[in-house]
């Protein structure tokens, strides 16, 4: 029962998504106002030939800070969870 209902709902969701991307704009012809600005100005404004690096660390620098933070958070979390517990804590 659960299997059938779940499968039907999943199929509805996936078919809606598939239909959505079918009626979306054509692949390979994106609108590109923001990106054209970056491609044209990246060399002057960020001084890097690699436009992706310019986007990553200058235009969208806060995202990269967030990304580094996510990585740092995950490392901190993993090391927190793998810590050695003291005997006193084991009991409670």
């Amino acid at each position: 029962m659960r299997q059938v209902v779940g499968l039907v709902l999943l199929l509805i969701l996936v078919s809606l998504l598939l239909w959505g991307v079918l009626v979306m704009r054509d692949f390979g012809y994106p609108p590109s106002d923001m990106d054209d600005y970056m491609i044209e100005h990246a060399q002057q404004e960020t001084g890097s030939n690699n436009v992706v690096a310019g986007v990553l660390l200058d235009y969208r620098g806060l995202d990269t800070l967030g990304e580094v933070t996510v990585l740092f958070t995950a490392v901190t979390g993993v090391l927190l969870l793998f810590r050695t517990l003291k005997r006193r804590e084991e009991n409670c």
Partner: protein
């Protein structure tokens, strides 16, 4: 611990992995690459050593605690560079046009040079340290823990 052949080869190979990783980190702003990719390459080198030698041997010279310190320092350098721009705005590329990393490449196609990009190369290096230390620490802790031993606090 794997066989002598694997150990010998990975011992030699680690040098090239390190050089390749550092190259990716240094040249991130004018060719494909960057801090994340280079750091991941270096961390994969550590994973290779872990497979070849086993965690018991690696843990003797690569402590999780030291790796944490490296990651923290990398993150602090990164955010300090971002803070340094607050004269104008947070994350402002204040080094562009100055003698350090200040070069601006000529517009259009051409090969860039390392001394351009302002704060970007510095940030790439900081990110490289965070990623290599962080991922190595995670891999090391997991290997250590699944071997039945917990990491030192």
């Amino acid at each position: 611990m794997l066989s002598r052949i694997v150990r010998t080869v990975s011992n030699q190979l680690i040098v090239f992995v390190l050089i390749f990783g550092l190259y990716l980190i240094m040249h991130g702003h004018d060719s494909p690459g960057g801090g994340f990719q280079g750091g991941a390459v270096v961390a994969s080198g550590v994973a290779m050593l872990l497979v070849a030698f086993g965690s018991g041997e690696i843990i003797q010279w690569l402590h999780v605690r030291r790796l944490t310190v490296v990651a923290c320092i990398g993150a602090l350098v990164f955010i300090a560079i971002a803070f340094a721009g607050t004269g104008t705005t947070f994350f402002y590329n204040f080094l562009l046009g100055t003698p350090i990393f200040g070069g601006v490449p000529p517009p259009g196609p051409g090969h860039g040079h390392v001394w351009s990009g302002g704060i970007i190369p510095l940030m790439e290096i900081a990110i490289g340290f965070i990623v290599m230390a962080g991922l190595s620490a995670v891999v090391l802790a997991m290997a250590r823990f699944s071997g039945g031993k917990e990491i030192e606090e």
